[in-house]
């Protein structure tokens, strides 16, 4: 990042336009709502992290000694519930997406600003139910809530936790709806679909999944609650139900939910790679359509979570085949990102470090997905630490790297301040090292046969577990450092110019931080996405030259 001396910040902007708690809690400004979300998801990220710390401490030794088995089971369940439903799913769309979708398309706000605020309140209410469930002792079913354990046997707060997930789902639906309508109707003049940044394409695809998938988890939780309260017999075999049906319903949402978590991160990475190397994304249309293909195919692969569930062998084969099909668009993205770097002007600033880290983790996470989609191999590694490692590479290595990369990249725009580049690079490195040390040994543990969700384990698994716990403590420190320097920068960081990276994109063509209505004048877009330099001046001549 270039430190530019003596930047004069705009006199009024969205942060100082109005003051007071009420001006925040009743705001309809998408940028302020994004910050409300930022505070909420950050809180839940560290809450989920606390549970993870408990898990890693317990697993330092083979025998159960740090907590009781019951407590351990509650810890991994709450870790999963909090991280997935309260952090990973909302993180990028609700924070970065909320802040950036209108800015990137040259709009003054989202299409439904009040619904946007409502979605944050719904999220908060749902999250409160989850917090209450934790305070009342938590829940021990695993975040997957499999029946009949959850419906008949568990004595945890299944209903309360389920209610939390159910309610939070509506905030997801409303955010998706808002994005789709906004992207369709509020693009600036001249901003055609193929001039949109890939971040927008990714969020469009994500929104489709949010709208189409989330109602299914809502229905599933409702059925689970009915079963638990009234024993209606949908999942209970003694009453003629089928416990495996729950798994079908659950994964019909929860597999696409993986794409709700990772597609926005892919959108962020496309922005980072393009802008930090000042190159138009190689194969722009392929990357854009890959997002839609992933969203569509993502709905057809849920059964790959159920290869050993006693579902039909032939169903297993169909789901395996389709899982390989959905892997291709992801691979295409990686190839195009790599090719984008060719003949670029590559910066090593923090956001790019996160992008590099993302690609590395995503390769390992994605390739191990091929292991798990291979039926014969999945039978062995299913429900072992191999799976745990795989999805952490995708969700933590992918989504959180994308989230942190994006947060750093747009931080000057969001706050109008620059953070310490040296500290930021250092933290990125610590996170990269800590992450690998935490999760890579888990692949080995899984192949050796250590089942997941084990409170105590045979002694031969200890060395790798200790490595994993050591890595987790490094990772934890890595996540705390940015909190410190980012908060510090909000008060003491140098003022950011409108475009500190020399990036393309409408969000960099307004002041940092932007005014409440985003742009002084409605921008008119006559150039392609990722035109570097000053495209508004020389767009026409460029297009002529290109023929």
């Amino acid at each position: 990042m270039e430190t530019v001396a003596e930047i004069t910040p705009p006199r009024t902007h969205y942060l100082n336009a109005t003051y007071g708690v009420k001006s925040w809690l009743l705001t309809t400004d998408h940028k302020r709502i994004a910050l409300l979300y930022l505070a909420s998801v950050t809180f839940f990220f560290f809450l989920g992290g606390l549970f993870a710390a408990g898990i890693r401490i317990e697993l330092l030794t083979p025998q159960g000694d740090f907590v009781q088995a019951e407590t351990y089971n509650r810890m991994f369940t709450m870790h999963g519930v909090v991280m997935i439903f309260l952090f990973l799913i909302p993180a990028i769309p609700a924070v970065l997406g909320n802040f950036l979708v209108p800015l990137m398309i040259g709009a003054r706000d989202l299409a439904f600003p009040r619904i946007n605020l409502l979605s944050w309140y719904i999220y908060t209410v749902g999250a409160l139910f989850a917090v209450l469930a934790i305070l009342f002792g938590g829940v021990d079913t695993g975040w997957t809530f499999y029946t009949p354990y959850s419906s008949t046997y568990s004595n945890g707060n299944v209903i309360l936790t389920g209610l939390g997930v159910f309610v939070v789902g509506f905030s997801s639906i409303l955010t998706g709806l808002n994005f789709i309508v906004t992207i369709h109707t509020m693009r600036a003049p001249g901003l055609t679909w193929f001039r949109l940044p890939l971040f927008i394409w990714a969020h469009y695809a994500t929104s489709l999944i949010m709208i189409l998938g989330t109602p299914v988890i809502a229905v599933t939780i409702l059925l689970l609650a009915l079963e638990r309260l009234a024993h209606v017999g949908i999942f209970d075999p003694a009453l003629g139900g089928d416990p495996v049906l729950f798994q079908h319903l659950f994964w019909f949402y929860s597999h696409p939910a993986v794409y709700i978590m990772v597609l926005p991160a892919m959108g962020v990475i496309s922005e980072l790679i393009a802008n930090m190397s000042r190159k138009r994304i190689f194969g722009y249309k392929f990357v854009a359509f890959a997002s839609l293909a992933i969203a569509a195919f993502g709905f057809l692969v849920w059964g790959h979570h159920m290869f050993v569930s006693t579902q039909s062998v032939y169903a297993g084969m169909v789901f395996s085949f389709l899982s390989y099909a959905v892997a291709i668009p992801s691979a295409v993205k990686v190839f195009n990102w790599t090719a984008t770097l060719y003949k670029g002007s590559i910066s090593y600033d923090t956001p790019m470090l996160y992008a590099f880290g993302f690609i590395g983790f995503f390769i390992i996470g994605g390739m191990t997905g091929l292991f798990l989609a291979a039926l014969g191999v999945d039978v062995h590694v299913h429900d072992t630490y191999f799976v745990v490692a795989h999805f952490h590479y995708i969700m933590v290595g992918g989504t959180i790297m994308g989230y942190l990369g994006g947060l750093h990249y747009w931080w000057p725009k969001i706050t109008g301040r620059l953070y310490s580049e040296a500290w930021a690079r250092f933290a990125a490195l610590v996170i990269f090292v800590g992450f690998n040390l935490t999760f890579f040994p888990q692949f080995l543990l899984g192949y050796m046969g250590m089942p997941r969700r084990y409170y105590a384990y045979p002694p031969e698994f200890q060395v790798l577990n200790v490595m994993s716990s050591a890595g987790a403590s490094i990772l934890g420190v890595g996540y705390l450092i940015p909190v410190i320097y980012l908060i510090w920068s909000m008060r003491y960081g140098p003022h950011a110019p409108a475009n500190p990276w020399g990036a393309a994109g409408l969000e960099w063509r307004t002041s940092s931080p932007p005014p409440t209505l985003n742009f002084e004048q409605v921008p008119v877009v006559t150039w392609e996405a990722y035109e570097f330099g000053d495209p508004s001046e020389n767009a026409e001549s460029r297009m002529e030259n290109r023929g």
Binding site: P237, M317, T338, G360, A374, V377, V379, G449
Partner: protein
């Protein structure tokens, strides 16, 4: 090609080598792909590093040729992996008919095994070396999962139905048995050992136990105790179908459909007798749900299986057109 991977558990079944080979192939592929991309990124990042702050590089448009190439080649490789993996999977869940039957009832938090000769074990399973073994499983409560890493097999055990998996142990020894599906507080205690024994040792072990007689004979006792025999008479004069020679046969149903008389069908017919009524019979059998335990059910299944094998030539349903005897209250 059979390879052994570092960090792989013992290779103790006929699947171990196959699974490890595919796993090794995938590892090589991952390393290859990961190395190529990583080296390219490092090379580009150094060669095209930003030289001055206002540098704007020339633009390169995409390339249709490359896009097709890097979609089609990965797809073809993926299809190869798909077929390879599906092949192993298909074998695992299709037990050969000559396999030795072992019955499993899982519950929170233990594994209960019943052998054909009547031996019962908890959290210990003795199997012979070099013989195909078919495991038929069910659970008394929640879903569990039968996992023997050294055999590379795993299958969920689901309440309300039987699931089956088979293996052939290839190396004597003692191997971990884990429950792989989270099943509550004691999940990580739901572990045991599979002991693979040489054939002679196994015979000696078989001879050592089984005070109660064979599994089928226990089933036969239950068959009389629950008075099944009053309707399911072997002479074809009973109110229910003849069960001799039934096992494994196709049975015509009242509703016009057909069903193979396998373990699951027998179980279902005892617990929900009206679900699939045999053609020509009245739906008069009462349910035995709640009266008979999962273990007893398996014993009855073993009995019906044993009388099926004794009379292989006989039809499953001897006289479907015989008039049903006058309605009497069930003798239960």
């Amino acid at each position: 090609m059979q390879v052994s991977m570092p960090f792989s558990p013992d290779q103790a079944s006929s699947y171990s080598g196959q699974v490890d080979s595919l796993f090794a192939f995938l590892c090589v592929l991952t390393i290859l792909f990961g190395t190529v991309i990583t080296l390219l990124i490092i090379y580009f990042a150094i060669k095209y590093r930003r030289r001055h702050k206002d540098e704007i590089p020339g633009q390169v448009e995409g390339s249709m040729k490359l896009e097709v190439l890097w979609s089609v080649i990965p797809f073809l490789i993926a299809m190869g992996i798909f077929v390879w993996g599906a092949n192993i999977y298909y074998t695992m869940y299709h037990a050969p008919s000559e396999a030795l039957d072992i019955y499993v009832v899982a519950k929170q938090w233990m594994w209960k095994f019943q052998h054909l000769d009547g031996q019962r074990e908890i959290n210990e399973l003795h199997v012979p070396l070099g013989r195909k073994v078919k495991i038929t499983m069910t659970t008394e409560d929640v879903i569990h999962s039968f996992y023997v890493p050294a055999f590379r097999i795993k299958l969920d055990v689901v309440p309300g139905k039987y699931s089956t998996v088979w293996f052939e142990a290839t190396k004597p020894g003692r191997y971990h048995l884990f429950c792989a599906e989270y099943c509550g507080t004691g999940h990580s205690r739901m572990i045991g050992w599979v002991e693979v024994m040489e054939a002679s040792e196994y015979q000696a072990w078989l001879a050592g136990g089984a005070a109660e007689g064979s599994l089928a004979s226990s089933g036969e006792k239950l068959f009389q105790q629950f008075a099944c025999i009053t309707c399911h008479r072997s002479d074809g004069q009973g109110r229910g179908p003849v069960l001799q020679g039934l096992f494994g046969k196709e049975v015509p149903l009242q509703n016009g459909g057909k069903v193979i008389a396998d373990e699951s069908y027998i179980r279902e017919s005892i617990l929900s007798p009206r679900a699939k009524v045999v053609a020509g019979f009245q739906p008069i059998m009462p349910t035995f749900q709640g009266q008979v335990s999962e273990e007893q059910l398996l014993q009855i299944v073993a009995y019906i299986k044993s009388i099926g094998a004794k009379a292989p030539g006989e039809a499953g349903v001897s006289n479907p057109n015989a008039p049903a005897p006058a309605m009497k209250p069930p003798s239960q």
